[in-house]
Amino acid sequence: MPEALLEVRDLSKHYTTRTGVVKALDGVSLEVFPGETLAVVGESGLGKTTLANLILGTEGATGGALQFGGQPLSKDRALELRRQIQYVQQNPMTTLNPRRTIFQSIRVPLQTHRIATDHRQRAAQLLEVVGMSAQYLDRFPASLSGGQRQRVAIARALAVEPKLLVLDEPTSALDVSVQAKVLALLVDLQKQFRLTYIFITHDLSVVRNLAGRVAVMYRRKIAEISSTPELFRDPEHPYTRMLISSIPVVSEEEEALKPQWPWERNLALDSGAVSQGCGFAPRCPFAEKACWGEVPPLATVRKGHQSACHMVSGRIENKLEAKRGEA
């Protein structure tokens, strides 16, 4: 195993509000290896973006620690560390300042990190890298399409030669025909510049095609983490299984690849039931008493595949396994 580029240890982020403590992220651990793409998937409000914020240092953690290339990574970090981790946001309509030209936007990170080159030349070169011509340098974002803006955002992130790119839903606001182009670009850039990606998304079809490993999050914790083919073939956590079975697909062949989910999807979701144990228990058709009371640990299924479910750790009977046996 190569040395991890980024290590996340037991990371937590709790917000104290007037009505009590809100846990946005609770005891998350994972590793990101150089050159890989780790997808972080899950539905909205499950802590994906909080994780990104902590990695980027826009917020400080309330527990746990981050390490980047062996160095501790806190909220207050050296400029050099900040340079190595860059960010591409979700919405291409709001990610660029409308009053700045493309050149002015791309120049900002070059100035911040005091990179002494000809900024204009470097910006033109960056645009070329993302498949745009230098004639766009003096245009404003308003005259660019969504796909083009996202390319500019990627160019800006690459300007300071980062090692790690955090991509927060980079294509979810784009049409499929444009999304395909941007994804292809990301794959290409990764090879060209040996980048490491943390790819945050809710779109599992994209994950299947892009990521080497996937971390599935549910309710501020990691539910399952595995290599991509294995996760899609053998999802161990009921939530992962439900999630994959919900993807709308466009062909019969893909339909056949989805795991079956004959159970209800939203069990007691609106009853406001809160579980002291597994966050998924209120929606899980297999939940037993233990699930409501004890937090399931992240148990190893196979090498490189871990799942936080009492059925995996053997605490309760694995009814999914039985179901799979029948099929």
């Binding site: 499929v176 999304q179 095609n209 709308p248």
Partner: protein
């Protein structure tokens, strides 16, 4: 049998500073009684504005509309506002994309459902309205309707709000439901359930649905028949099975190929080029500047050519097929 909704040769032009933007270029579509029809296309292809025209919601001084929209024998484009009002909310009900933006945050769900129920005229007294609202919420699998009825939209999750909207659209048992990207603002597991509910309930009530979406997977799981739109034209129509197993129009094929596959492997290709500027659209087939099969004849307008079994494609490639 006459279709419930018949849109024929609909043109829409907006007068802008830059010139005249020809947004809909002769759109024709039909929805039969109880049928589930989807219109699919990428952003800016004119699918949402078509839906708005059907409901009579596009009325600005800078627009010019040609063509016909007929709902159950009623000419929607020539009807008075009063007449349209009578239809909307009773016989035609919309479900819009963003559940948070569709509900008024300053009124409770009960207030908002009451308004809709009063329009329908099925219940008059407060008690009746309350009971009807409660049973409508029960139908969309809301387990504690009373709590939801007394809540404000911001106190409920997106999925719950979406289900409230579906309940509202269905409560007056309309003939036609116009759904603009329902559930796309929601998570996949909730979206799946939303579609399932919509399918089950409309089937039970016999309501027809015109669904507008950019998500091909959703179309495949929901619709009986599909219209594919590109840049203000219907480029292909047919049964869901036809469209998904053998798409004919090069645009439909390219669109299908752009969807990332669950089987993994090769990344999709995407489509080169851009959607045309509607003030200066290319002549003839509006897709030809981006099309791999483009030829001289593409600069002429291409009618929808019949390919058998109700499958039609507006492409020169099928000229011979349609003659035979």
């Amino acid at each position: 049998m006459k279709p419930l909704l018949k849109v024929s040769n609909l043109h829409l032009r907006f007068k802008l500073f830059e010139g005249v933007s020809h947004v809909l270029n002769g759109v024709s579509l039909e929805v039969g009684r109880g049928e589930r029809v989807a219109v699919v296309g990428e952003s800016g292809c004119g699918k949402s504005v078509t839906l708005r025209l059907i409901m009579g919601l596009v009325q600005h001084s800078n627009t010019r509309v040609e063509g016909q929209v007929e709902f159950d024998g009623i000419n929607m484009l020539r009807s008075s506002t009063a007449k349209l009002r009578e239809l909307r909310g009773r016989r035609i009900c919309p479900i819009f994309q963003d559940p948070m933006a569709s509900l008024n945050p300053t009124f409770t769900i009960l207030d908002q459902m009451s308004t809709v129920i009063r329009r329908g005229g099925k219940a008059r007294s407060r008690q009746e309205i309350f009971e009807l609202a409660k049973s409508a919420l029960g139908q969309v699998a809301i387990t504690d309707p009373e709590r939801v009825l007394y809540a404000y939209p911001f106190q409920l999750s997106g999925g719950l709000n979406q289900r409230v909207l579906i309940a509202m659209a269905l409560v007056n048992q309309p003939d036609l439901i116009l759904a603009d990207e329902p559930g796309t603002a929601l998570d996949v597991t909730v979206q799946e359930q939303t579609l399932r509910l919509m399918r089950g309930l409309t089937e039970k009530q016999g309501s027809a649905v015109l669904l507008i979406t950019h998500n091909l997977g959703v179309v495949r799981e929901f619709a009986d028949r599909v219209y594919v739109m590109y840049a203000g034209n219907v480029v292909e129509e047919g049964s869901t099975k036809h469209i998904f197993t053998s798409p004919k129009h090069p645009y439909t094929q390219a669109l299908m190929a752009s969807v990332p596959k669950l089987s993994g492997g090769q990344l999709p290709q995407g489509i080169d080029g851009f959607v045309p500027d509607y003030t200066k659209p290319p002549p003839g087939c509006r897709f030809h500047p981006r099309c791999a099969y483009a030829r001289e004849a593409c600069k002429q307008d291409q009618p929808l050519r019949k390919l058998g079994g109700g499958h039609k494609a507006a492409c020169v490639l099928y000229e011979e097929v349609s003659h035979a």
